[in-house]
Symmetry: C2
Subunit: 442 residues, 2 copies
């Protein structure tokens, strides 16, 4: 008898004569789940079992209060159970660059906290579908929750992507924490020039050993995008809605984490998602993206970055002298101004002085949606006269990353101004249609 | 012949024998507009005329390229044309506190810029409907676009509201710029204790002399809420959708300007609007609000504020020492952390030191939606151990204003912690239903 479950779950299952891959029924909270018992992954605790439902989706169920029945011992053939990771001629090669985050984590059931697990291979134990989409290998760069990442980490990731694409990869997956995934996605958009294959960041809001995990759909969708899509950009692929129906492909320079915990926390700002992805299909929602080129990649790595840039949200009462102090420490400032891109009038002489001293000041809007327009109100026009650079429709976070990139290339203020206003990766010049603003209370 | 239009518009109209209040038809850009010609308001330029459509809405039309026809000379009775501002026994008394902003502005057609006009009374020239909803008077506190407002201005407004309510007003309207309207609305929520009448901030995204102005609906809706609604809170009333159909009532401590230019820029974060307001009706969408009390107001003014608080968005690469420098200058810090409320790990010892020195550090999330939870990940738990205060589901901007208020009342760190975590005005403890997150790309 083969059963990998142990402890409480193991006792219950073996008392019912249930083995790995048996078809079982679990009734819990008036819901009925039927499917194949998946062998216990190493990272699972002793309270849950995992079954593969007939729709192909794996679900974890805490057996507390659950009624379990054996339906049949008829097993699928052994080969189908856990696909071997052997090379398949007809599948593209998409390496998975592991950087850490919830998607490579598990819950420590003794404390309830999320900790990073040791073996990234465990991902494939739970998402065997990946083996039918891609040939892959793991490249573990580091294991950090993304709140700890810095521009140095972006460089490591960019170099790894570059090496994989130049080495023949058809696309690249990057497993990444969600906290700062959009900053990394923007950084890769600027540092990977002449991109000709998909670079796909993927993460999860709930760890993969939880029944409510979003990791399975996200990984499958991300693999499809990296393997099959015509999108040659740095994108984020995460849940597109609160359920497990589909994921969205969001351009890295337009993505923002807009919710602390929801699966669909990542939203595109000022433009629609590029595509909607189900378990089976990548459906393009726009034609507005950079296209994949077949053949060997000619991507260039241009990772010069100056991390000495500060992001400053303007608030009522921000005192005089605050920005000057920052300008002594940083080589560039990105302000998230109010409304169309404003600061209090009393700050403008100070901003003029900062710019005169050679420190670029880029104005974005803390509204996030819409675009900066410094021509409408007197405050805006005075900011322009003071030498501030309009961030146009760039997100504050994207302007920050871009200014780091630009300052890695030039110190000349006029050159900085020119580069900041030039659309490099789709970060400027969105068509602000009525439908790209998301109020639901209509 | 009575015609108040002059210049180019005046010449065209008089050549057609058209007088004020005649019924006319204007055909422009293949659109047909029919209605009563409204006498030219003083603030209008010489290129536009204004007609009142049959749906009661006033529209301004630039006559460039327009075809104008006289339909009939049948005028409505003179009394109906411009309602007199005489006291009406059956209407509530709702003073309008004017602070500036686009709603009290006009376009300078020589430069295309928006400038503040001189006479707030001009508002009523264009929105005569107000005279059927409220008895009013103007209280001009100052005339500033709201990017220039500071906590001192909030105090002036709070005092004016207090005096009007104590003096017998049934509700108060505040005409305010939109850039920082949500900061002011939050500040009033904390400073006006024991509130028992509606306090309604209203503004516009397009000035009132523009055909596309949102000011008319916003003012009528705001007046209705102040006059008739049972809502005794500091709220924002602005467009609820992109067209002129209805406005929303948004709790001051949940409101955020989420778009640089759209009429429906103000959105409630983490909860639904309190009510939907049409030209005729206030429809409550929730029962979750503080109720109006009839009779003399017993509102209290508690306007102690310490403005020495900084709002800091965390970003990848934020250097060590940055927060310490701020802690030397400010008495409290509000961090907009990543995800569930995180900072990079390397900042935590510094935060611990800042708190040890008696400077409160409140953690909110730059995601804006959702709530801070410092118990899920190790970073969060370390922040708690360092003495950081969880901002729960407060917006960063609201936590900023609240910390100013709290530090106006106590320097004791434990007392600050207690007050920050206590729900004072609906700013903490939202029920985060699935429907209060606005992705439209479902």
């Amino acid at each position: 008898m083969t059963l990998h479950y142990r402890g409480r779950v193991g006792n219950v299952l073996s008392s019912l004569g249930i083995e790995d891959y048996d078809r079982i029924r679990v009734i819990k909270d008036e819901e009925v789940y039927e499917g194949i018992l998946i062998p216990r992954p190493e990272i699972l605790d002793d309270e849950h079992l995992i079954i593969k439902l007939d729709n192909g989706y794996n679900i974890g169920i805490n057996i507390e209060g659950a009624k379990i029945e054996l339906i049949s011992k008829e097993k699928p053939s052994r080969e189908k159970k856990i696909p071997e990771l052997k090379y398949k001629e007809d599948l593209p090669f998409v390496p998975l660059i592991v950087t850490g985050g919830t998607i490579t984590s598990k819950v420590d059931y003794s404390t309830g906290a999320v900790i990073t697990h040791e073996k990234p291979e465990e991902l494939l134990d739970i998402v065997p579908e990946l083996a039918n989409i891609i040939n892959t290998k793991y490249i573990t760069l580091f294991s950090e929750f993304s709140e700890n990442l810095t521009p140095s980490h972006w460089k490591l990731i960019a170099r790894a992507v570059y090496e994989q694409l130049r080495g023949g990869a058809d696309g690249v997956l990057i497993a990444h924490g969600t906290d700062t995934m959009h900053y990394t996605a923007a950084a890769l958009s600027f540092m990977l020039r002449n991109l000709d294959k998909p670079v796909v960041l993927v993460g999860s809001q709930r760890s993969i050993d939880r029944p409510s995990t979003d990791a399975v759909l996200n990984l499958i969708a991300a693999a499809r995008v990296a393997a099959e899509s015509p999108i040659a950009e740095s994108v984020i692929v995460m849940h597109g809605g609160p359920s497990d129906e589909y994921a969205h492909v969001i351009r890295g320079v337009r993505a923002r984490k807009m919710h602390t915990s929801r699966r669909d926390a990542f939203q595109p700002i000022n433009e629609p998602p590029i595509a909607r992805v189900t378990y089976d299909d990548v459906k393009l929602l726009t034609e507005n993206f950079r296209r994949r080129k077949e053949g060997p990649s000619e991507v260039e790595l241009d990772d010069a970055l100056d991390p000495n840039v500060a992001l400053v949200q303007i608030w009522p009462g921000i005192p005089n002298g605050y920005l000057s102090t920052l300008a002594e420490r940083f080589k560039g400032l990105v302000l998230a101004g109010t409304g169309l891109g404003h600061t209090p009038r009393y700050l403008i002489p100070e901003i003029a002085e900062i710019v005169r001293d050679g420190v670029p000041v880029v104005i974005t809007s803390q509204c996030l949606f819409g675009r900066v327009n410094l021509n409408v109100y007197e405050t805006g026009r005075r900011l322009l006269m003071a030498g501030a650079i309009s961030g146009e429709d760039m997100l504050p976070e994207v302007a920050l990353v871009k200014l780091m990139y630009v300052l890695g290339h030039t110190d000349d203020l006029e050159e900085v101004r020119k580069m900041m206003k030039e659309d490099m990766a789709g970060e400027i010049g969105a068509h602000l249609g009525l439908n790209v603003f998301p109020p639901c209370w209509r």
